[in-house]
């Protein structure tokens, strides 16, 4: 077993809670004394920031929302003077104003430690070349994994995203051991390899660490087959640190949370009340180790569940279910909540590929949903009847999965857009 920091990752619950309690106390104090937003929020709610005695007191604290970051754009939530900030990243800002995050030296160290744990959990060692195909820049993907690879003592190969033929060339020439990118880009790289006539067996690549967008176990199996590797999930969001908030171990079932730095809770989406282990709700994180941006009970809009108890891999840190999708990604179609990940799950169950596009429109005041899927070896036929039957079978399966009708259209291979970063799965043409 490859554990980077066993004294934390395999610690008993009492030890973890003692660390968390001390760090929560310090975080709340720091936030209250340095961030006007938190001072006002605590005072208005009548909360004594010095009255925390246990990590379990966290439920008494108010939530922080994405809007609070936007209201204090760009640097209003920082708890340290600019002289202590050594790095700034920003989210893609696809919905509204982008959110800006800052890091002190200690914050960068924490982040590197977090991603080093993730790379080690995927089997990475100091002997390995870590091929990083996440974008480098304001996006946290590239630099997040980069510092983790260096922390581990491995070779960080900062390829960044794009120029896919060159990616394949480097995988071949340098003999990269582990690749890091979005799962959709991993698929694209695999397809490109196939086109170039390069078999996965000819590469030394043995694992991939994929994240920054929700993906299903079906897609995992497809990527593993296409690239001949074991595929590990990594989760994170820039507000909390970036990739490395949680990560897959060799069991590939639920992601271990770096809970000594990022304390997780799952709460009921509507009531905000904490839920039991195993119950899905909205993920909430408190950055209990960070200096520059000590967010308290930040609502992620990601849907997941928590599982306490020792994992088969030997780690004791709490695990979170693979997020079902961001509630931001959720579509409401005729009043029914639809997640793109549900569509993806259905596709993989029926042997369709995972290149798909959901198009939503409103016709005669009625929401219409169309799912375009690329035809593959399993679905191609010489008769119209077979192809229409495949479409019908998928339509029926989607209907029972989503409880809403979706028209299915099979399209030619490689005609749907490919992405070098986060895949775009939904086009919503509704003008509301």
């Amino acid at each position: 077993m490859n554990v980077f920091t066993p004294e934390i990752e395999c610690a008993d619950r009492e030890t973890l809670e003692a660390i968390q309690t001390e760090r929560l106390k310090a975080t709340v104090k720091r936030a209250y004394e340095n961030v006007p937003f938190y001072k006002k929020q605590f005072d208005d709610a009548g909360i004594n920031p010095y009255g925390i005695t246990s990590i379990h007191d966290i439920t008494k604290l108010p939530y922080t929302n994405k809007q609070d970051l936007r209201d204090n754009y760009p640097f209003g939530m920082f708890a340290v003077p600019k002289s202590e900030i050594i790095r700034i990243h920003a989210s893609s800002g696809t919905t509204g104003k982008q959110t800006v995050v800052g890091y002190t030296q200690r914050d960068i160290d924490i982040w590197a430690e977090s991603t080093a744990r993730a790379i080690a959990a995927a089997g990475g060692t100091k002997e390995d070349i870590i091929h990083i195909s996440y974008g480098y820049g304001l996006f946290t993907g590239g630099l997040g994994l980069h510092y983790g690879a260096e922390k581990l003592g491995a070779v960080a190969l900062p390829v960044s995203s794009g120029n896919t033929n060159r990616q394949v060339q480097l995988l071949q020439d340098f003999g990269s051991d582990i690749i890091c990118c979005t799962p959709s880009y991993a698929m694209f790289i695999g397809e490109t390899m196939k086109d170039m006539g390069i078999s996965p067996e000819s590469l030394s690549l043995r694992a991939g660490i994929f994240g920054a967008e929700p993906w299903t176990d079906g897609m995992r199996i497809e990527i593993e087959k296409l690239l001949g590797i074991k595929a590990y999930d990594i989760y994170g969001l820039s507000e909390i640190t970036g990739p490395g908030v949680s990560y897959d171990c060799s069991c590939q079932k639920h992601l271990h949370v770096n809970e000594d730095y990022f304390y997780p809770e799952v709460v009921d989406i509507d009531t905000g009340e904490p839920v039991e282990d195993g119950v899905y709700g909205e993920l909430v994180f408190t950055c209990i180790g960070k200096e520059a941006l000590p967010l308290i009970r930040y609502r992620t809009h990601d849907i997941s569940a928590l599982y306490h108890g020792k994992c088969e891999c030997g780690r004791t840190t709490v695990r979170m279910a693979k997020p079902r999708g961001r509630s931001d990604d959720m579509l409401i179609i005729r009043g029914v909540n639809v997640f793109p990940s549900q569509v993806e799950y259905t596709l993989t169950q029926l042997g369709f590929g995972t290149n798909y596009l959901i198009i939503v429109d409103r016709k005669n005041n009625l929401d219409c949903m169309e799912v375009k899927v690329e035809i593959n070896e399993n679905t191609v036929s010489d008769t119209v009847r077979d192809i229409e039957r495949a479409e019908k079978v998928l339509e029926n399966a989607l209907q029972s999965m989503l409880n809403v009708h979706a028209k299915v259209s099979l399209v030619e291979p490689k005609t749907l857009p490919r992405s070098e970063g986060k895949a775009k799965r939904v086009i919503d043409n509704r003008k509301l």
Binding site: D195, S381, I387, K414
Partner: protein
């Protein structure tokens, strides 16, 4: 003694067929017969070619999905009533036809029909015992 047919899923998009035909041409493959099944959203291009494996390779490199199916090729006289007799022979023999397409042979007085049926072996047996010639790939490619 069946014949290989290539089926290609083609989206209804202007210029697409031209691109596909161009790829086949470039591969130096000769088309012996073809038909297109069309629906509102897509078409299926079916081809009988002289070098099926090379055609499949070229089309796959273009990123298309190609399905290879075995079909039956029969030869009938080019005269009124010959096709009706052949189809009646199949029907009486309990063979169902999914689709078919026909073309003239270079051999004078002969026409050829590609048949996609539910049971190739049975179709061939029924046709042959009804006195109708079925063709193998060599017959078709060298016509």
């Amino acid at each position: 003694m069946f014949v290989k047919q290539l089926s290609i899923f083609v989206q209804n998009q202007s210029g697409r067929l031209s691109e596909i035909a161009g790829v086949i041409a470039k591969a130096g493959v000769d088309i012996r017969a073809l038909s297109i099944a069309d629906t509102t959203n897509f078409g299926i291009l079916r081809l009988i070619v002289d070098k099926p494996d090379e055609a499949v390779k070229a089309l796959k490199e273009m990123g298309l999905t190609v399905k290879l199916t075995e079909v039956v090729a029969m030869e009938v006289d080019d005269r009124p009533g010959a096709f009706a007799e052949a189809i009646k022979t199949l029907s009486d023999g309990g063979v169902s036809v999914e689709y078919l397409y026909a073309f003239l042979s270079r051999a004078p007085g002969k026409a050829r029909v590609i048949l996609r049926v539910d049971d190739n072996a049975k179709a061939e047996k029924v046709l042959n015992s009804g006195g109708i010639t079925t063709l193998n790939e060599k017959d078709l490619y060298l016509m």
